[in-house]
């Protein structure tokens, strides 16, 4: 923003441009640093609501999924710090909204094509924030190939060339255009060589740079982690949402194996690729907050399973009500630490050792 050069070249530029936009709007203050992240966190919640609604055609369950996402602690923390994950994942979720709408809505082929192009644009913007977008895009491409081979969901009518352009070419072009803004700002040539050079730096940095040891946490410990990440706003997944959501995800996986149900299949696939990417990514250290995208899919899985339990009663109450109350209580318990409330409010609901 000050024109002093790119001091953070280890990631693509778009998320940093968005943070700079917030600072331009609200000033170089703590509020300005975090404004854009909060806006994109809210946009993510709207996308979760719409995506769940498209999958389940159920207004209440869509609201529950969004509410659980707000209470899962990850979204609250990530959307209140100036980090890149909230930006890339907001674009990913909006890409999934467009993609799922193209698959499920009763609309013309032309509109389906437009939605698929919108999917590509969103994933391109997400990739221009952080490379991890590519795993969800790869999963989307897998779903496209699956339906195309099965001659289902109108994908044959849309045409292979259009699909390839929407899922491969459009994201790549949008990704490259984000670098144009950076090159223009820093008076660098926008050439193929420059693009390759900048992206090679990103790759080499992440392969070779170990990252902060204080935040190091291997991926297999994220699922049932019980200690807060003190170095990052005391981030700790809401046990009710992330553990209950994990059980719900296992249920979804089982249901998908039995009936090939689309909602269950998509949440299982997207959770799986977002978690298991860390098995293959050659990065020396991983952080707990990388679990954030997975927790969002856990919320949708939870809503799917709760939807099938609407007729049941536990202690005379609906399971949905019990889960929402328990999740709210846990969130409130964590809130003073996550929001860095000052004394005496920091220990209002119990102090953490």
């Amino acid at each position: 923003m000050t024109g002093t050069g790119n001091t953070n070249p280890e990631h693509p530029p778009l998320a940093k441009i968005l943070i700079a936009g917030g600072m331009k709007l609200a000033g170089d203050t703590p509020f300005g640093w975090r404004l854009a992240a909060a806006i994109f966190g809210s946009l993510t919640l709207v996308a979760i609501f719409l995506w769940t609604f498209l999958l389940l055609d159920n207004y209440l369950l869509a609201l529950i999924a969004a509410f659980l996402a707000l209470l899962n602690n990850f979204l609250f923390v990530i959307a209140r710090v100036a980090m890149l994950d909230v930006f890339y994942f907001a674009f990913v979720m909006w890409g999934l909204v467009a993609f799922t709408a193209a698959l499920t809505l009763n609309i013309s082929i032309g509109r389906r094509r437009i939605l698929l192009f919108a999917t590509g644009v969103m994933f391109g913007l997400g990739g221009a924030c952080k490379w991890n977008t590519i795993v969800t895009l790869a999963a989307v491409a897998l779903v496209v190939v699956f339906f195309y081979l099965r001659d289902s969901r109108h994908l044959r009518q849309i045409g292979f060339a259009t699909l390839a352009v929407a899922v491969v070419l459009v994201p790549a072009v949008v990704y490259c255009l984000a670098f144009w803004i950076q090159c223009h700002r820093f008076h660098r040539p926008f050439t193929a060589g420059e693009l390759v050079s900048m992206n090679m730096f990103i790759w080499r940095y992440h392969v070779n740079c170990p990252g902060p040891p204080a935040l190091d946490s291997p991926w297999y410990r994220w699922i049932f982690r019980t200690s807060p990440e003190r170095g990052m706003s005391y981030l700790m997944g809401n046990f009710v949402v992330v553990w209950g959501g994990f059980l719900a995800l296992l249920t979804c996986m089982w249901r998908f194996c039995r009936s090939l149900a689309l909602p269950e299949g998509l949440v299982t696939l997207f959770y799986g690729v977002n978690l298991l990417q860390w098995v293959v990514i050659p990065q020396q250290r991983t952080m707990y907050y990388y679990y954030y995208p997975c927790t969002v899919f856990l919320c949708v899985a939870f809503a799917i399973v709760l939807g099938s339990m609407q007729e049941r009663r536990v202690l005379g109450m609906r399971p949905i009500v019990i889960i929402l109350v328990m999740a709210s209580v846990f969130f409130l318990y964590c809130y003073p630490r996550m929001a860095a409330l000052e004394a005496p409010y920091d220990c209002a609901l119990g102090c953490w050792n």
């Binding site: 703590p30 209140r80 969901r153 003190r230 149900a261 689309l262 299949g265 099938s308 929001a339």
Partner: protein, 71 residues
């Protein structure tokens, strides 16, 4: 009733009771979903409300100088 159930199953409804309009990959015919106008408005307004309310909530206390400090 059995014929109805069989017909519904060929349309790809995975859970006949309680979960209508569930799409499956195994569907023979395509399951159509279209927002009726009223539902479209309701979803749109709810989306806007989710955005405004969550943004207000996320912005609460965000002006603190530094609140994710290593300890």
């Amino acid at each position: 009733m059995a014929r109805v159930l069989k017909y519904r199953s060929t349309l790809g409804f995975s859970h006949f009771a309680g979960n209508q309009n569930r799409c499956t990959l195994a569907s023979v015919g395509e399951v159509k979903q279209e927002f009726p106008g009223q539902m479209q408005k309701r979803v749109g307004f709810t989306g806007l409300a989710v955005f405004m309310l969550s943004l207000s909530f996320l912005l609460l206390g965000i002006e603190k100088p530094a609140y994710y400090v290593m300890d």
